[in-house]
């Protein structure tokens, strides 16, 4: 059982994960793997209802999607284990480098103690299965720090983190 969080608020996950050979339903929000996305690019391009999400494994490269970002509403970045931090860098690159305006979602093995880091790297939502983490987030028991020694995600107009610290590189969460 997974719960989708935007901040501390649980919300309904409208995206339906599709595997392999299934026909693409129209009118629904769908979530496909990178390989399904690449194999069905033309069909996905011509689809005119329902939103499109692509789930990227930790070992898959962002560059594969960079030409098609205008087609995509959501990119899921996976954490196959707590210790695999590749998706932190990818979230930043998506928002900062590629200017991706859609939803960046964390999936996989996510613990409460990482949630603050994910937000700072640009994740909008998190799909969480770890029950104690769901509980902590629901109860707003979030151990994240509010003072930071480095700027994280650079997004024009991003709210929440300000350069009010004593030095150019320090930040404070409002």
């Amino acid at each position: 059982m997974a719960t989708l969080f935007r901040g501390h608020v649980a919300e309904e996950d409208t995206f339906i994960p599709l595997e392999g050979e299934q026909p693409l339903p129209s009118g629904e929000d769908i979530l496909v793997s990178l390989s399904v996305f690449e194999e069905n690019l033309d069909m996905l391009r011509s689809r005119n209802s329902g939103r499109l999400g692509v789930l990227l494994e930790a070992g898959e490269e962002l560059e594969s999607l960079s030409q098609h970002l205008d087609l995509i509403d959501l990119i899921g970045l996976d954490f196959p284990s707590f210790a695999d931090g590749r998706s932190f860098s990818k979230a930043r690159l998506l928002k900062e480098r590629y200017g991706f305006a859609g939803e960046v979602r964390a999936t996989g093995d996510i613990r409460i103690d990482q949630v603050g880091h994910m937000r700072r790297c640009g994740f909008d939502t998190m799909l969480i299965t770890h029950a104690p983490t769901v509980k902590s987030l629901t109860e707003i028991k979030d151990p994240a720090l509010f003072v930071h020694y480095q700027p994280a995600l650079q997004r024009p107009g991003a709210a929440g983190e300000r350069a009010t610290g004593p030095r150019a590189w320090t930040r404070r969460t409002a």
Binding site: F88, R111, V147, Q154
Partner: protein, 556 residues
């Protein structure tokens, strides 16, 4: 030295509160050991063979008297009355109770210290030359840059779950006293063609089971680009470093497998994209950090000191200590004192609470309230008046800290080994103690001259054996401890990895083998001035092999 402002205090206090909550959850059972592990590691807490171990950062090895006294207090109150100074300018406590650790961290925070990122797969304590701002050969003090890197790397949200640990060292002089080329990133402060400050950047050095000397990525990186360049290196490493095998996960393997030129292209491309972003260092902020490290109020003094000369003339032990443990200072009338935490038969780097208190007093009284920890596991008093050396020596001698062996064979590095460490395959400390006792005679040590001996109790090489002039690696073979010997390694600016000399030695043979090596050197050296490593470089391994393995027939 750096002092916390309100922001820094707020940060460490919040971090202590955060970890207290995590420990509470662990103790109550809400957090399993599996889930707790990455959290405790990022706060310096290991689970060793017999107990938890806490590793406290001493950023770039600089601390004041009050901080040293707090380290003593922690050893006395929460541990077994001693601490262990490490090769990465940290101190380890071997017996703390988990429930006490939040209180220890709070005590540390009260003197502007922490244990953040002293372990785990993240950016570790940034190290620097222990003679910084005291040696004459320095271009600039490396510590302001180490402090800026410390801040930037602390709880960096993108780089807390790297493929493997990541170590950065900064030196400010052409002489490398920090094994800079054996770090994931090594920085040498230098001046560019236009006279501005910046860095030579080395990437991909390391010891462990695949020792590698770092490759030069940049001959000159301007000062303002320090953080942007490091962020580019870390991002490339985080994305592309291997995660399938922890022994191939360090950036040195990425450099090796990708090839220097190609990886350099990736790093430079990433750097180009971010170099004009918010990470570009404003000059006034660098100067403000630098101001914390302003020189103390040195006074004009003559180059020679009458009290020093008088005592040297009347006290041979003192004269020997001055000769061996006091290095030239950039200011006339001052000296840099190395306190060798290497008493005969003691575990290298272990200091008692009382000894730490004495060191705190001496730092306050005679060295402008400043002390250093060296990567050779010694304590440095960086700015001592030559006139004060007799008083400093007497106090050190009373505390059993006056070993006159800095740079000599018994001033060795040894890891904790199988006596403490869960990773070790053999004991290190008893080997170090045995060698220390065998070579206890200072006459003999002086006759041998400069010789860096380093001992690791397993292939992870915490004891830096690869860069020892004589390196000893303890392994386990068929239930027995076996010690392999490497020769010719060097961790300074003439970086070299030692070569394995032949089959290993049993625990009861290794000290004899070291003696054979030393005697072979003494027989081969051209003069008393030719050091061990110079002789080794000239004659090569064969004479040592012949002496160590006399029954093995010569190769055709």
């Amino acid at each position: 030295m750096y002092r916390y402002d309100q922001f820094d205090h707020e940060f460490v206090n919040a971090r202590v509160a955060q970890f207290r909550d995590q420990v509470d959850r662990r103790v109550s059972g809400a957090l399993s050991e599996d889930n707790f592990k990455p959290l405790r590691l990022q706060n310096g807490v290991y689970l060793q063979l017999h107990a938890y171990m806490l590793r406290v950062a001493i950023p770039y090895g600089t601390l004041n008297g009050a901080q040293m006294r707090m380290l003593a207090h922690i050893a006395r109150k929460y541990d077994r009355d001693y601490g262990h100074f490490t090769t990465r300018q940290n101190i380890q406590y071997n017996w703390p109770k988990l429930e006490d650790i939040p209180d220890i961290l709070a005590d540390l925070a009260s003197v502007e210290m922490h244990a953040i990122q002293t372990s785990g797969n993240c950016i570790r304590n940034v190290t620097a030359d222990h003679f910084a701002a005291a040696s004459a050969d320095e271009v600039a003090d490396p510590r302001p840059y180490a402090e800026i890197l410390r801040q930037w790397s602390t709880v960096h949200p993108e780089f807390l779950f790297l493929p493997r640990k990541f170590k950065i060292a900064v030196i400010g002089a052409p002489t490398d006293r920090a094994a800079m080329q054996f770090h994931d990133i090594g920085l040498e402060v230098k001046r560019g063609d236009n006279g501005g400050l910046g860095f030579a950047v080395y990437v991909g050095g390391g010891l462990g089971r695949t020792p590698m000397i770092a490759k030069k990525m940049r001959d000159f990186l301007p000062e303002e680009d320090l953080l942007s360049y490091c962020e580019a290196v870390l991002r490339v490493y985080n994305l592309y470093g291997r995660r399938d095998n922890k022994y191939k996960a360090r950036i040195k393997i990425l450099v090796h497998e990708t090839g220097l030129e190609e990886l350099k292209k990736d790093i430079e491309a990433e750097f180009d994209r971010i170099k004009d972003s918010v990470l570009k260092l404003p000059d006034e902020d660098v100067r403000a950090i630098e101001a914390y490290f302003a020189a103390p109020d040195f006074v004009e003094l003559p180059a020679t000191s009458a009290p020093l000369e008088a005592r040297k003339a009347s006290d041979r032990s003192f004269a020997r200590w001055v000769n061996q443990n006091v290095h030239a200072h950039k200011r006339s009338g001052y000296g840099i004192v190395t306190v060798a935490v290497k008493g005969t038969g003691e575990a290298p780097g272990d200091a008692s609470s009382d000894q730490m208190d004495v060191l705190a007093d001496l730092g306050e009284r005679y060295s402008f309230d400043e002390l250093r920890i060296s990567h050779i596991q010694n304590v440095i008093l960086p700015h001592v008046r030559l006139d004060d050396l007799p008083s400093v020596y007497d106090a050190l001698r009373d505390a059993k800290l006056a070993s006159a062996n800095a740079g000599l064979i018994t001033d060795m590095i040894a890891c904790p080994g199988l006596d403490y460490c869960a990773l070790a395959t053999a004991r290190s400390i008893p080997v170090a103690q045995d060698i220390s006792e065998r070579f206890a005679s200072l006459e003999r040590q002086n006759e041998i001259g400069e010789l860096k001996l380093k001992i690791s109790g397993c292939i992870n090489a915490c004891g830096h054996h690869h860069v020892g002039h004589i390196g000893i690696l303890g392994v386990e073979k068929r239930g027995e401890e076996l010690y392999q010997v490497t020769l010719g390694g060097s961790g300074d600016e003439q970086a070299a990895i030692g070569q394995i000399i032949g089959r290993g030695f049993a625990a009861n043979e290794i000290t004899d083998a070291v003696e054979t090596i030393v005697n072979t050197y003494l027989g081969k050296r051209l003069s008393d001035d030719e050091t061990f490593v110079e002789t080794y470089r000239r004659v090569g391994p064969q004479p040592f092999k012949d002496a160590l393995y006399p029954s093995v027939p010569e190769a055709a």
